[in-house]
């Protein structure tokens, strides 16, 4: 069996190809063969390496060393020094910012990229996601084996509890506590549901795990089942993620074939089966009770709560619903211990978080770092600054249901406490960075349109509220609104957040309220002066509204 210990990635986007990436790739294959490393080192290509001046890039994993620009002449040196002898070649590395000394508390890999602490994403992008052997070789199924053969269900729950793991889907509910509720609730059968409906705009962290490390979710769900005494699990994957579906399906099949899923796992009395279900395009199905309704074959309309899924869930039975990222933390916690997990992150927010960086920055993508990073650190260190040197105007944190953070608040640590302390939501960890060319009216309109489209229609405050808010914001952008409508929007927003049946209605207008708090003048300029300062709204095309004749 081939045991790959290093992987070489050669960038083959158009710019790289124009500079000879094809020849570099071939040279690597030849040199690796020359050194007799073909059974240990894999070479592959990547199309999208981001924006780089120094292409072609060559990335060597697991060291995360980035070389560039690489010519055919450099290949022999890289293969001999780095792959054969194990020494990174500093002179050939791509020029990168070095992390500042105060960030030494971040543990991370060797290499030239800014440090990250990869727990959830430890294997994603490194191992072959379709190979159970690769997974096992990388500590796969160790945690499950330990749980089933050395721990009782109550011990598993205690360990997760002690670790301080909180839900990573956006709500942040303590995972150990949720498991304990369901374990101690009378009723049978019980269910474990993995919420893989990731639909919060800006969020794709779960997709990385589902596509890159699918076995970890299978293992984690089985551990959860053992802890709460459930024999069946469901994983609900959004319909727009067909690759994730295929990879999870494959993982289920391979695990079952090896006795690591299904009947009598690891030869013990514990059996657990996982069913996979695809969504069909609906943001609201990410809400746990709507998801359950959808699993039951109905419209994804959230239920009235209480009762919560922990007492009345799938088919009316006690159910644990966990996000993908939350579950991905469970095997490492069992392998390395709750104390290890607690030491990462901040006192009230243990562990790491996968943050996704989007918008008008130089480097977009996902990073995994200890809880509590600030926006300034994200933008300066990981995103390598604003694109085209534009000024930062605002960041929306936590997805479209998240808060607006003006540039003045960019030093707030992003964790579970930041909303309570400074009004900055963590949510799913999506960070949408907007520069000076962003019009708040235009952005508010896009956000409100999303909620109008995704509202399920069940409860009046949200069904009418999302529609009216979008209509008014459209009128503002077209120059046909009045100042009185700003107060009306705030009233509607208040009603929605207090009376809506579910989180969608409750959070749909958070961004609007923040825009009104920090950027009210810009909004009023659209109304009063018929001017869009940034110049994107069609407001300037309208003639000023004449005063009514008495």
């Amino acid at each position: 069996m081939k045991v790959i210990r290093s992987m070489v990635l050669v960038s083959v986007d158009d710019a790289s190809l124009a500079r000879g990436a094809q020849d570099v790739f071939r040279a690597f294959l030849d040199e690796i063969d020359e050194f007799g490393l073909s059974d240990q080192v894999a070479v592959t290509t990547i199309r999208e390496a981001g924006i780089h001046a120094d292409t072609p890039l060559v990335i060597v994993y697991p060291d995360a060393a980035v070389y560039g620009p690489v010519t055919v002449a450099d290949v022999h040196t890289i293969v001999e020094e780095h792959l054969y002898k194990g020494n990174i070649v500093p002179s050939l590395l791509e020029m990168m910012h070095a992390p500042a000394p105060e960030f030494g508390w971040m543990r991370g890999r060797r290499g030239a990229l800014p440090v990250q602490t990869r727990i959830v994403l430890e294997r994603a992008g490194i191992i072959n996601p379709e190979s159970i052997e690769d997974y096992i070789l990388n500590d796969g199924f160790l945690a499950l084996g330990k749980a089933l053969t050395q721990m009782r269900p109550a011990d598993v729950i205690a360990e997760v509890d002690k670790s301080g793991l909180q839900g990573r889907g956006g709500a942040g509910f303590p995972t150990g506590q949720k498991w304990r509720f369901v374990a101690s609730t009378p009723g049978s059968p019980k269910y474990v549901i993995c919420n893989a409906d990731e639909s919060e705009p800006g969020t794709f962290k779960d997709r990385l795990v589902l596509e890159g490390d699918p076995f970890s979710i299978i293992e984690a769900m089985t551990i959860a089942g053992y802890a709460i005494n459930a024999q069946e699990g469901y994983i609900y994957i959004r319909g727009e993620y067909p690759l994730a579906y295929r990879r999870i399906e494959n993982a289920i099949r391979q695990a079952a074939a090896r006795g690591l899923l299904g009947d009598r796992i690891f030869g013990t009395d514990f059996s657990f089966h996982i069913h996979i279900h695809a969504g069909a395009g609906s943001y609201i199905c990410g809400e746990e009770t709507a998801l359950i309704e959808s699993l039951e074959g109905k419209r994804g309309m959230p239920r009235a709560r209480p009762p919560y899924p922990t007492t009345y869930g799938l088919f009316g039975k006690p159910t644990v619903v966990n996000n993908v990222e939350t579950l991905a933390n469970v095997p490492p916690i069992l392998r390395n211990g709750a104390v290890w997990f607690r030491e990462i992150g901040s006192p009230k927010s243990a562990g790491t978080k996968v943050y996704t960086i989007l918008g008008n920055v130089n480097f977009t993508g996902a990073i995994e770092v200890p809880m509590g990073i600030t926006l300034r650190e994200v933008i300066d260190i990981y995103a390598k600054g604003m694109k085209n040197d534009k000024q930062l105007k605002l960041v929306q944190t936590g997805g479209s249901s998240g808060t607006i953070v003006p540039a003045s608040l960019q030093d707030v640590p992003l964790d579970f406490e930041s909303f309570r302390n400074a009004g900055v939501s963590l949510g799913s960890g999506a960070l949408l960075v907007c520069d000076e060319d962003t019009c708040v009216v235009d952005l508010a309109k896009v956000i409100l349109r999303f909620f109008r489209n995704e509202c399920c229609g069940k409860c009046t405050p949200c069904r009418i509220g999302t529609l009216r808010l979008y209509e008014i914001m459209s009128q503002i952008s077209e120059g046909s609104a009045s100042l009185a409508e700003l107060d009306l929007m705030l009233k509607i927003s208040e009603a929605m957040s207090e009376v809506s049946n579910c989180g969608l209605g409750q959070t749909a207008s958070i961004a609007l309220r923040d825009f009104m708090k920090y950027f009210r003048q810009e909004i009023e300029t659209h109304i009063v002066d018929h001017v869009c300062p940034v110049g994107v709204c069609p407001v300037s095309e309208r003639a000023p509204v004449l005063a009514p004749v008495p």
Binding site: E48, E198, S199, E200, P201, G202, T203, F204, R207, R238, G239, E240, Y241, P242, H277, A278, G279, A280, G281, S282, Y283, S294, L295, E296, G297, K298, R299, G300, T356, I357, L358, G359, N360, T364, G365, A366, Q396, S400, A430, L432, C434, T438, L443, V446, I447, R449, F450, N453, E454, C456, V536
Partner: protein, 165 residues
């Protein structure tokens, strides 16, 4: 995608799909998904075909066509009427918008000659807006059928659409 589906074709398709997923209420969405995938849409006549096969009164399952219509009309990936052979789904959520989406949708409209929601006369193209696709770091993004395109600039649009027959 088929516009005229014969009664026999539909019945045998529903028979097969229900057989694969099970004649239970919680199989409704996978059943509708498969029909939507094969035919490009869910014909109204499919609903009673499904309902007939899932009526299990002895187990307390009483389905009306309206239950099926309720599910079929709720999910955005389903269509209740025939759409184009090739479907463009453009992400109109905030991240793609901030990264330059406005210019790309304009280019898509120009190139296809369609407004969002429209299908071309010759049934070749449909242009639909969709919510976040989950590839946000390479926005602006859109799907054509099952192919995803990221980092799209307006200049790339004609070449992308030209790939489809």
């Amino acid at each position: 995608m088929e516009q005229e589906v014969t009664e026999l074709d539909l019945a045998s398709l529903v028979e097969r799909v229900v057989g694969e997923h099970g004649a239970t209420r919680d199989a409704i969405i996978p059943i509708l998904s498969d029909i939507n995938r094969v035919l490009g849409y869910i014909p109204a006549t499919a609903l009673p075909e499904i309902r007939r096969r899932i009526q299990l009164p002895q187990e307390g399952v009483f389905l009306a066509d309206s239950h099926l219509y309720s599910a079929a009309s709720f999910y955005q990936m389903f269509s209740l009427h025939p759409i184009g052979r090739h479907v463009i789904r453009f992400c109109e959520s905030a991240p793609c918008h901030v990264m330059g989406g406005r210019q790309v949708i304009r280019a898509l409209q120009d190139e296809s000659g369609l407004q969002p929601g429209e299908t071309s006369q010759d049934m070749k193209w449909s242009l639909l807006m969709t919510s976040c696709l989950g590839v946000c770091s390479v926005g602006p993004a859109f799907l054509v059928d099952n192919d995803i395109y990221g980092n799209v600039t307006p200049e790339r649009v004609p070449e992308i659409l030209a790939r489809y027959e």
